[in-house]
């Protein structure tokens, strides 16, 4: 008689999963606790780009604070794709949140007209930083707090403008990979168009994230989630990932640690802030 054999099989590399209901409950509690209970602030400001990250952020804020307390801002530049505006409007319509459109062209060009040689990267950074100027100022006006929309994938790959996209004091999505944000979007009922469209920073014409990065989010997330557990490049390749893709991801992560920190401060004393003088952010 031949005995039946039960054998373990190595899991195929895949983007990390998420229980969207559990994550939603947790993130709604996070927003309520951090905004209302710890800071006594009852309203949020969210910049809507027309992409899925800011849409999910707005949906979460609406659940946590009520739609009337989520102030959306669309901040087009003259070169922004028109669908960015209309896609952002889909979120506004779905949630019935107040929304204002503030064109940043004059502010951005007011500076860049003196910098005619600024390349696309510099121009994009100026736009991203200008949008934060708007969001912080509007927050002050509305007694609200700007809410960040950056996800874990772009944070790990350094695919954001330092001291721009990463500046809002609260970030609900920063520990979720892009693939998980998509799952969360489907669960929350984000308009399907935004879930299915190709992600773009929309800082240059016809730009897409995946073309910029040179890898799909699904593949990047699968590699990143394993890489963070401590596996070497060789081990990741042995687990079924392509060597070039692993090298690309590793290079991006290792060259952007600085972007995930505040400024490097010269230490001169034994009371240096955040080195010796250690107090938590909520103290």
């Amino acid at each position: 008689m031949t005995l039946p054999i039960f054998e373990s099989r190595p899991a195929l590399p895949a983007a990390p999963q998420i229980d969207a209901a559990v994550a939603t409950e947790w993130l709604v509690a996070f927003l309520r606790d951090e905004l209302v209970e710890r800071r006594g602030i009852h309203a949020a400001v969210v910049g809507l780009s027309g992409g899925v990250d800011s849409a999910v952020t707005a949906f979460l804020c609406a659940r946590a604070l009520g739609a009337e307390n989520v102030h959306a801002f669309r901040m087009p530049y003259r070169s922004s794709h028109p669908t960015s505006l209309s896609d952002a409007q889909l979120v506004v319509d779905a949630l019935k949140i107040p929304c204002r459109t503030i064109d940043i062209t004059a502010a951005v060009d007011g500076y860049l007209q003196n910098e005619p040689k600024a390349d696309a990267r510099r121009r994009g950074n100026v736009m991203a930083r200008m949008r934060m100027v708007v969001l912080f100022d509007q927050s002050a006006k509305l007694d609200a707090l700007p809410i960040g929309t950056g996800n874990k994938t772009e944070r790990l790959l350094g695919y954001f403008t330092w001291h721009a996209d990463d500046t809002p004091p609260l970030n609900p999505l920063g520990d979720l990979f892009k693939s998980q944000v998509w799952e969360l979007a489907r669960y929350l009922g984000v308009p399907q168009r935004l879930v299915e469209k190709a992600p773009t920073a929309d800082l240059q014409a016809d730009q897409t994230d995946e073309a910029d990065l040179g890898i799909s989010y699904a593949k990047a997330d699968a590699i990143l989630s394993e890489l963070l557990l401590g596996y070497s490049n060789d081990e990741l390749v042995a687990r079924g990932f392509e060597r070039d893709a692993v090298a690309l991801i590793r290079r991006r992560v290792d060259s952007t640690h600085w972007k995930r920190h505040l400024a490097t401060t010269a230490m001169l004393s034994s009371t240096a802030i955040n080195e010796f003088y250690l107090r938590p952010v909520d103290y």
Binding site: I18, V22, R38, Q180, Y277, P280
Partner: protein, 300 residues
Amino acid sequence: MNGAPSRLRVALVQSKPAKGQYERNLAETGKAFAQLAEWSPDLVVLPEAALTGYFLEGAVYELALPAQTFVQDLARVWREASAQPVDLAAGFFENDGGTYYNSAAYLHVERGGEKIFHLHRKMFLPTYGVFDEERFLSRGRKLGVFETRFGTMSLLICEDAFHAIMPTIAAVKGARIVIIPSASPGRGVEGEGELESIARWRDILRNAAMEHGIYVIYAGLTGFEGGKGMSGSSCVVDPRGRVIVQAPATEVCIVRAELDLREIDLARAGLPLLGDLEAALPDLLLDEDLPLPRAGDNAG
């Protein structure tokens, strides 16, 4: 156990302290006590770091208290809430003459005064990843058990209970009830239906209760601390490993349970693993291959 009560009414206060605001949190605890007074609990348990919040970094030196001060404060707010006697257990940061511990006290409170029955200093200080306790605190050196009118108990704090040997030793030393004040930052959204860290905790608590035939009382902190959400889920597990009540993760609440202490004997009769362990324990611990200090190790 002759003459000892056969039932124990236990309440857990799943609190969300305002970071570092000891007096305010003490007042909130008093409100919870007032709400509980009518139910006449025998024992009220608060989480780890219940009156300060957990992640304090260097501020722990500003907030740590002598055990006597903490116990007096806690007893005072109970007496302001109720004239009934009660036992209290709660976690706090302790300043013992300039040495700092993550501690938990068990005390008995009556109108005329209070008495500390036991002070446990956390032995396993998590210092990895998000945790940095041993950067600021010293490690407790002894796992004790103590007598109460409800039988022998032991206190473990959070990671103490992650090490299976801790409830094991407590039970071997006679504990019938293990109380675990905890502050567990929730994480892991890839599972189904709940955070993975909550499921892991429940497995640990159920295994400890079932293996040794003990009641396990777990009081968890809730609320977000700088983005790290404490996972609440305060619960009571009976000596057969059944979760008889569990709080949600993110809600400030009170958990109540009436324990039938006779269940301990019945569970142990049905699954006498603790007795088996007591018989085998000398063989296990006297094994020369174990990395334990032996008599004569220091000779020469």
